[in-house]
């Protein structure tokens, strides 16, 4: 299995849904997307924290592909939320611009790292990140 397999999403063969067509919005993917959206709307956490574990543990995507799909899915999800919140007009535009200037540069670096990192450290790093998020949720 090469790291740079072009445009194909590698799913682990042990998962029951492995017969589902790749690269299509299956019922299972739609359910995961819906669940991610509902939970993020409900709890105020980003969809990624919900979608990545479901894509890995339920749909059997490799960690790297799950992260890439999650990032793409965040585009329409955050767009819908921005439009909703934008009506309320509570955005601190100056702060958002400053954060975004840093974060778009960081996003290139992070995504570049995602493209190179192997499955094992990525799983561990993401797992530890989720643990921290769980703690934050309880302490909040």
């Amino acid at each position: 299995m090469t790291d740079r397999a072009p445009r194909t999403l590698v799913r682990e063969p042990s998962v029951s849904s492995a017969t589902a067509p790749r690269n299509r919005l299956t019922r299972q993917l739609a359910a995961i997307g819906g669940a991610g959206g509902v939970l993020s709307g409900l709890l105020g956490v980003g969809g990624g924290v919900v979608m990545v574990p479901l894509l890995v543990l339920r749909a059997g995507y490799r960690q790297r592909d799950a992260h890439a799909i999650s990032l793409g899915a965040i585009i329409p999800i955050s767009l819908a939320s921005v439009l909703t919140y934008g009506v309320a007009g509570e955005v601190r535009v100056g702060y958002a611009v400053a954060l975004a200037v840093g974060s778009v540069v960081g996003a290139r670096v992070g995504a570049g790292l995602l493209a190179r990192i192997s499955e094992r450290p990525l799983k561990i790093v993401f797992g530890l990140f989720l643990g921290v998020v769980a703690l934050l949720l309880v302490l909040r």
Binding site: I75, G102, G110
Partner: protein
């Protein structure tokens, strides 16, 4: 913290969250919202709205970067996300009707379980 220093810190923190978001496949709101409320003294609601405005370009840049490198499937991810956007509206409406604290604890337990499992799987992977 005010003025130029605050903006410099915001840019630096943005770089950190953007990097984490690109690597971890998340938006980064979970890091930015507490930062905005605690360091920049922004209200919870305004912090959430502001962070969403940052999440959008972050996810676009990360997705384009990955697409160029041939990782993932952006058209599929966008359609997948459209379903999520509809779910998000339903979730926001549900949030008004349900006790938030209990849900957060349940969700935190779920994440804690996933955290343990992923680290264990990661350690077991060759």
């Amino acid at each position: 913290m005010t003025g130029v220093v605050l903006y410099a810190v915001l840019i630096a923190f943005g770089f950190f969250t953007g990097g984490a978001a690109g690597l971890l496949g998340v938006g980064g709101g979970i890091m930015m919202v507490p930062f905005l409320t605690l360091v920049a003294d922004v209200s919870q609601h305004a912090a959430q709205a502001t962070s969403l405005l940052v999440v959008l370009p972050t996810a676009v840049v990360a997705s384009v970067t990955l697409q160029r490198k041939g990782i993932g499937d952006l058209p599929l991810a966008l359609r997948f996300g459209l379903v999520g956007a509809v779910g998000g509206i339903a979730g926001a409406l549900l949030a008004l009707a349900l006790p938030g604290h209990a849900l957060r604890i349940i969700f935190a337990l779920f994440l804690g379980g996933v955290s343990v499992r992923l680290v264990r799987d990661g350690l077991a992977t060759q």
